[in-house]
C-alpha cells in the first residue's frame, strides 16, 4: 500500500517501556515498530499483561515515552513537555473503562465542561452539547446526575 508521511497518524520506532527499577524492572514493550494511518481502524489484541493498556496510554499522551520514538498527530512524544502532552490529549477521543464523569455535574454540565476545550465560542456550547446528547439518546436525561 502506498502512503505518504502526512497520512501517518501514529508512528512508533523502537518504542520501549518498562515499569519498576533495578532488579524489579519489568519491560512491557520492547523495540516496538508500527504505524497507523489516517482513516484506518486498528485492533490491538493480546493476552493480559502483554502491554496493550501501556501502549494505549503512551499513544494517548497519558504517560511519558521513555525510550524510542512515538509520533502522534505529527508530534514527537519522546521528551515532550506537559503542554505538548496536553495538546495531544485534547485532539484524541478516549473511552475509558470507567467513565469517571464528574459526579457533581449533570449529564449536560459534564458535556459542557468538555466543550470548554473543544468549542472556543461559549455561545455555541449549549446547543452543541444538547445536539450531542440527543444524538446518543440522552436528551431526556440532560439534568440527571451520573450516579
Amino acid at each position: 500500500m502506498v502512503h505518504n508521511e502526512d497520512s501517518n497518524v501514529i508512528v512508533a520506532r523502537g518504542l520501549t517501556h518498562s515499569y519498576g527499577e533495578g532488579e524489579l524492572k519489568n519491560e512491557i514493550l520492547h523495540q516496538l515498530d508500527f504505524r497507523v494511518l489516517a482513516k484506518e481502524i486498528t485492533l490491538l489484541v493480546g493476552p493480559s499483561g502483554s502491554g496493550k493498556s501501556t501502549l494505549l496510554t503512551l499513544i494517548g499522551a497519558l504517560r511519558s515515552v521513555e525510550e524510542g520514538s512515538l509520533t502522534v498527530l505529527n508530534r514527537e512524544l519522546l521528551g515532550a513537555s506537559e503542554a505538548d502532552l496536553m495538546a495531544v490529549r485534547r485532539r484524541i477521543g478516549f473511552i475509558f473503562q470507567s467513565h469517571n464523569l464528574v459526579a457533581s455535574l449533570t449529564v449536560l454540565q459534564n458535556v459542557l465542561l468538555l466543550l470548554q476545550l473543544a468549542e472556543p465560542d461559549p455561545s455555541k456550547r449549549m446547543e452543541r452539547a444538547k445536539d450531542m446528547l440527543e444524538a446518543v439518546g440522552l436528551s431526556q436525561r440532560l439534568h440527571h446526575y451520573p450516579e
Binding site: R89, Q97, Q109, L113, L117, P122
Partner: protein, 399 residues
C-alpha cells in the same frame, strides 16, 4: 504571557462554575466546612473585639481629657492603679511662661453598695475642681455645679450593667439615690448620669469634686497627693518647648506627656506589657489554626474524593492549573461563605456584650478587613497544602 493573561485564561466567566457546583452538590459537607471556618472567624473577631475593647475602654477617659500636657508618676503603669505624687510639683509648672492653668486630678477605685439594692461594685472615682471643665463630655460639664455640694457625684450609666445597671435604672425612675462605701465609712449621693464607658479596672465611673473624692477614697488618696496633673497652655504657646523644659525640670520624678503620648503609653501597657495582649493575640492565632485545619481537612477530602475525576479531566486535556484553580476557587468560596455570616453574628455579639459589659466592642472596617484577609489567607494556605494531593491525579491511572 503575563500573569493577567494567565489568570484571564484560567478564570473564564463563560465556563462552568465547577468549584461552586462541587460544593453545592454536597450541602452537608459544605455546611460543616462553612460552620468550622465561620467559627474560626468568629473566634478571631471575638479576640480582636476584646482586645480593641480593652484598649478603647482603657483610654476612653484619656481621650475625653481636655488638656495640652499631663503630669503622671513614672510608677503609674496603667490607669487602673495610679501612684500619687505631690501637688506642689504641678504648681511649679504654673510659673512657666505659656502655661495658662494647671488642674490636679484625684483618681482611684472605691467599693460601694446600696443595702437591699445595689450589690457591692467597684467604681473609679475621678475628682477635680468642679469650676473647671476637664472632660469633653457635655453631660458632665452641664452638671458640674451639683458636684460643689459635698458627697454629690455623677454616675457613668455605661458601666457594667450586670453590676451597676440598677443604679442607672433607679436614678431614671426615682431620681437621686444614695450609695454607701463597702466599709460603711461614708456615703455619697448620685445626682446625675453621664456616658463615658466602663473599664476593665472598674465596673463604672464616678465624677466628683476633689473634696468628695478625698473624703470617699481616703486613705488611698490624700490631700496634696494627686494622680494626674493637667497642664493647659496659652493659645500661642509652644507645646514642644514647654514639654521639653518640664521634662528637664522634673527629671525622673515625673513624666510629662502629651495627651496622645499618654494614650499611646496606656495602649502599649495593655497590648505589650500586660498578659491581655498576649492572651488575645494567642486567641486570634488559635482561631486561625482551627480554621486552617478545618479548611485543609475539607479540601483534602474533597481532592481525594475527586481524584479519579481530576485524573480523567487531565486525560481529556485539562491543564494542571485548571484543576488547581478549581480547588483554590473552592477554598475562596468557603472563606467568603463563612466570613459573611461570621461578621454578622460577631456584630450582634459585639452589640450584646457592649450592652452587658459597658465596654464598647465596635465592628470597625479595620477589624473586618483584618479578619477577612486572615480568613481568605488561611483558606489559600490550606488549599495550597491540600492540592499537593493533586500530584497523585495521574491521568494514566484512569485506565
Amino acid at each position: 504571557m503575563n500573569l493577567g493573561h494567565r489568570l484571564r485564561a484560567l478564570i473564564n466567566w463563560h465556563d462552568l462554575p465547577l468549584a461552586w457546583l462541587q460544593l453545592k452538590r454536597q450541602p452537608v459537607r459544605y455546611l460543616v466546612a462553612v460552620t468550622g471556618i465561620g467559627f474560626a472567624a468568629l473566634l478571631m473577631y471575638m479576640q480582636l473585639g476584646f482586645q480593641s475593647g480593652l484598649l478603647k475602654s482603657a483610654t476612653t477617659f484619656y481621650q475625653a481629657l481636655e488638656t495640652d500636657l499631663v503630669l503622671i508618676s513614672p510608677a503609674t503603669v496603667n490607669s487602673g492603679s495610679y501612684q500619687q505624687f505631690p501637688q506642689s510639683l504641678l504648681y511649679q509648672a504654673l510659673g512657666l511662661e505659656g502655661v495658662s492653668e494647671t488642674i490636679p486630678l484625684y483618681i482611684t477605685n472605691i467599693n460601694a453598695q446600696q443595702l437591699g439594692g445595689v450589690k457591692p461594685t467597684s467604681l473609679r472615682i475621678i475628682g477635680f475642681d468642679p469650676d473647671k471643665k476637664i472632660l469633653n463630655v457635655p453631660e458632665i460639664n452641664n452638671q458640674l455645679d451639683q458636684l460643689k455640694t459635698p458627697n454629690f457625684v455623677l454616675f457613668d450609666e455605661l458601666g457594667l450593667s450586670i453590676k451597676t445597671g440598677p443604679v442607672a435604672k433607679q436614678f431614671s425612675s426615682n431620681g437621686p439615690l444614695e450609695l454607701t462605701l463597702s466599709n460603711f465609712s461614708s456615703s455619697f449621693r448620685i445626682m446625675g448620669l453621664f456616658k463615658l464607658g466602663s473599664t476593665f479596672v472598674a465596673d463604672s465611673n464616678l465624677i466628683s469634686s476633689q473634696a468628695t473624692a478625698l473624703d470617699l477614697a481616703f486613705p488611698q488618696v490624700n490631700i496634696g497627693e494627686i494622680s494626674l496633673g493637667l497642664i493647659r497652655l496659652e493659645p500661642r504657646a509652644n507645646r514642644t518647648e514647654i514639654q521639653s523644659y518640664l521634662k528637664s525640670l522634673y527629671g525622673d520624678e515625673l513624666q510629662v506627656l502629651t495627651k496622645e503620648e499618654l494614650i499611646t503609653q496606656e495602649r502599649n501597657y495593655w497590648n505589650n506589657v500586660s498578659s491581655f495582649g498576649i492572651i488575645f493575640g494567642f486567641g486570634t492565632i488559635m482561631g486561625l489554626l482551627v480554621g486552617g485545619v478545618v479548611v485543609y481537612q475539607v479540601l483534602y477530602t474533597d481532592v481525594s474524593d475527586h481524584l479519579k475525576e481530576y485524573a480523567t479531566l487531565k486525560a481529556m486535556g485539562f491543564s494542571n492549573q485548571f484543576i488547581l484553580m478549581v480547588v483554590i476557587q473552592e477554598s475562596i468560596l468557603l472563606a467568603v461563605s463563612a466570613f459573611i455570616p461570621a461578621t454578622l453574628l460577631s456584630a450582634g455579639l459585639y452589640a450584646g456584650l457592649t450592652a452587658v459589659s459597658g465596654i464598647r466592642l465596635d465592628m470597625t472596617a479595620d477589624k473586618t478587613i483584618l479578619v477577612g484577609t486572615l480568613t481568605v489567607s488561611l483558606c489559600a494556605v490550606a488549599s495550597a497544602i491540600a492540592i499537593r494531593k493533586l500530584r497523585d491525579a495521574d491521568p494514566a491511572s484512569v485506565f
